[in-house]
Symmetry: D2
Subunit: 337 residues, 4 copies
């Protein structure tokens, strides 16, 4: 393969730029040409494509967001969009593509490969909810942004003897909540992977003030459970009489300069995706497992270690679901007071 392209898709994540840089530089190092596609699959279909030079990515590694931009583009689920996209790529002589994004973005990569156009997925999302990798690009930065913010909220929480419910991103996975909760010594962490009893939450909170000498409290809540305002309302209804406040860290978790780990991880995964394309391989997603680079078929059978299978009814099934961080959640409970 002599000419490849790269795009970013789905929600932006810190480190996506480092991954783009790695794809561009590694491809040039391997003697390939490399193109950038703006605005994800939308830009692919519309032909918003340009040739990368090695200097184009010189200062992007430390920048948050994605300078290739991202966009939702449901039309790419349809055959017509896919074929149009391939047509645009072929116009530039492009033979393979690296897709950096969440696992929704992997489906597009899979379709391209099915049509004979090799594509490789790179896991980029702050949520850490992609199967086939221990960590996603952006997760480490998001957790560090969260703990900085929670450390700040703790100052106020302490000063005013308040209970703060702090909502963090994570629709399906509580990883940000669990890590941030453990790393800030939060009193309670509420995640979608574990059931909770609002009465038990309130009982523990009130007991802290009444019997365990606590003077303030932080409860970290993953957005996949409910929003912070609702949770505070639920706590009040269940009898919590502490000075309750809701706050949502929201979009600040998505941005910011990537941490060292996200830059290194992105460099590693981006370069590995190029290695696979160079060998003509597609339909794969790269990841890191037990500190080693891995790659898996995006679609196939569980026996093939594929990330997803097609069920008989045509629906896509996750073969090995993202594992809940139950060990860390339990550790968090053992170390709080």
């Amino acid at each position: 393969m002599k000419r490849i392209a790269v795009l970013t898709s789905g929600g932006d994540a810190p480190g996506m730029n480092a991954a783009v840089r790695a794809v561009v530089r590694k491809a040039i190092y391997e003697g390939m040409e490399v193109y950038g596609i703006n605005r994800g699959y939308a830009g692919m279909v519309e032909g918003d494509i340009f040739k990368f030079e090695t200097r184009d990515v010189t200062n992007i590694m430390s920048q948050g967001g994605t300078f290739l931009r991202s966009a939702r583009y449901p039309e790419f689920a349809k055959l017509e969009g896919q074929l149009k996209g391939i047509e645009q790529l072929k116009k530039h002589g492009i033979e393979g593509v690296v897709v950096i994004g969440g696992d929704g973005s992997y489906h597009g990569a899979m379709r391209l490969t099915e049509h004979g156009f090799p594509a490789v997925g790179v896991p980029g999302t702050i949520d850490n909810d992609i199967v086939g990798t221990d960590y996603t690009i952006g997760f480490d930065t998001a957790v560090n942004t969260a703990i900085e913010a929670i450390d700040k909220i703790s100052d106020t929480s302490y000063s005013h003897k308040r209970t703060f419910v702090v909502e963090v991103m994570g629709r399906h996975a509580g990883d940000i909540a669990v890590w941030a909760g453990l790393a800030t010594g939060a009193d309670q962490v509420i995640i979608p992977e574990e059931e909770f009893d609002i009465k038990a939450v309130v009982a523990r909170n009130m007991d802290g003030y009444e019997n365990r000498g606590k003077s303030h409290a932080i409860i970290v809540l993953a957005e996949g459970v409910t929003n912070a305002e609702n949770f505070v309302a639920m706590m009040k209804e269940a009898g919590d009489t502490s000075d309750l406040r809701a706050t949502n860290l929201g979009h600040i978790l998505r941005g910011g300069r990537p941490t060292a780990r996200d830059r290194v991880l992105a460099s590693w995964l981006g370069a590995h995706a190029v290695d696979l394309l160079k060998e003509g391989k597609g339909g794969l997603a790269v990841g890191i497992q037990n500190e080693e680079l891995v790659s898996y078929p995006i679609l196939g059978t569980a026996e093939e270690n594929a990330l997803f299978s097609l069920a008989e009814d045509g629906k896509i099934v996750v073969n090995t679901p993202h594992k809940a961080q139950t060990k860390l959640a339990q550790l968090s409970r053992e170390l709080r007071r």
Copy 2:
């Protein structure tokens, strides 16, 4: 005066600890003894008072919040509470008190002084809305926290071509919004001191996308105008068709390690309050104006340069209202594109 005390009152602000440290160290330097009062006026009335040693404040300067804690205590508006407070202070032989907080807290200081117990106010609040000082302790840190967060949101805003309405604290004063907006190159800044026309806001925003080549936008909104969710709803109703998002920086603005400027300002103001008490002066608030230390009577006539006067109907009137940052707001408009 040989023995003074210090308390923090109102919303916590970064740098309050540096101000407490300055009061403690300066008082000891001047040969006085100094006491701490926990939880503001509530702790004063309840006698939650302890003697400070010089080492007690050794590591607090770099910490956010207030380790003396703060509390609302409306009972202190009544004579009974004030007399009870003075009684508690006299039990410890305390002869004067430094009150660090917003201008609501100044009223208590004024009452104490009226009852023959000298008290001096030190301006501590992130809002920068206290009369008699160009800057309040905590403002500089809050603005820096705001620009870090807005820089992060800009990453996402750029990546997804969105318009973000970012709400920052400031009930009566738009200072945080104006400074943060200017320092991040925000497209529009909406503050309580300036009227706005939602149609003009939307017209400018849409014109940016349609005619001025803008691909995303940040609008900084002071909470005193309305909240971000409402503002987004208003924009939609007025015809904005961009991809609008609301986010509230909320309580993260209150916490965090104080900046150098807030630490220096707090040190300066705290030490000056001790100077005044040492001379037996009370009923004053300290401030910084044109880079010089100043102090003004809290209550009196405009001719006396007092911050507040009593109107005929008994209401408290601000003699020289906090000036709006209209020059900076105008500069912000001239430098945006």
Copy 3:
């Protein structure tokens, strides 16, 4: 004036980019055209000049350094270089120039103006040592970078019971040292504007460990006095037996994202320089004094409030030297323990 240019000169400082942005945007706002000159006076003489569009400065405000670059160019002290520079500017129809840099850079601006080509100086240096302004662009960021670093060194200093001598930039002015020392509660601050006795320094240090219950110490040293290694050697020779370490914060103080205050100050001063050029004024330097914009003749008599005069022997004399931060240095001594 319809067409102006901007350059950065001398050591780079955080906020220079914000000043360039302000010059570009303000000029366009005022209906002028604006050009950028790369690499300071060297680029001027070599004709390394390009036209600015409003979008060229869109994302530079939050970046450290100067994207126009800077360079030493002693040749500009000679008439030949100056005339060549003017010739280059005139080729592009440029009628005035804004020079952002230290006061060394002001001399060039003065010469240009003497040759009939109006130039205005904007104070940009981390050292805060420029006459005619209370603060220079970059100082606030440098102090904040310094206190972050010193807070980190304090962690180690505490952990190991050590005395750290921390060297910060400042060849002629101790402002960074004084502010950083006060803001971190440093035990001693050594600056060029105050004499020191190494025996007294050691005596105080040893007394801290022996009699005042200190377990570690930080001494902040301005580079203008001597370097940290030397100072440690001097302390040892004078009998200090504590566990002494030298560290030099060095070049990290020059870089980094500018603080809110530096961005606002740079915006304000850059825009003001454009205002002056628009009125056809040159040979001036802008500044901020007592929170107000000011401008002064660069060269002239003391009566004209000029920053510099020509002495009879042809040497340049500073009319009103940068004032030492003796008040803050004294406050620092009163608040330490």
Copy 4:
């Protein structure tokens, strides 16, 4: 085991406090009592020991350094010191001890265990050079501090077209240098695990300026190779004519608020050490390998997976040396330009 103690030893590292917190809280969770030992083995021998309450560690997790302090204490290599230490511990009824520090500190733990007093080592050092663990506590924070500093130096390097040689800690291991170099896109990384030819270093550097369009360069140097000043001198002697500067990040790498990852890792390892002691196990060091908790005998044979063996001449031999980060170093070379 009903009563254990914890100490920190060797160079301080961010996250040591989080590890102490984890030991204290986990021990209390398991129904044990837990004591703190100040100043490492020195404090043990001198009996500087106190009982921990659960609240004592409430706010330490986010703090850099070690609040238990650390100290060099070569006397502990002798039998007398070891027996005296055990005697002090037994006075308080302590039955086991957790030692947080570098692998030098492990030797003490091993000796205690040999004398029948179970001790477990927890890897705490920024250098990441401890056998038996993929990561040490403090490494992630140090790398992030390094990249922040190098990003700042890059601003200046770019502005002035300079080559900066940036020295980072790492006497035996180049891990900080490799990670920081890869994460900042440094042009060259010089580490003790790889030979270098100063002529090749200079050739590449000059080629960058002359043929590859580079305008500045960063070379990251591990202290184990030589210091930055020397390296610059070597480069000059080998013919480098670029504008060379040396800077040493030095002690700022040791301090600072720990990152999320260091807090989580420290919590995990500290708690695991308590688990081992609870089962009566000693003479072990805990670590993380392939994302799983592991523990190994500190001293023993290679077959037993022990970290160290005794050679016939009585010297201590490392069984499985810390592996060099050659893969990442190679990746760094492939992605630079």
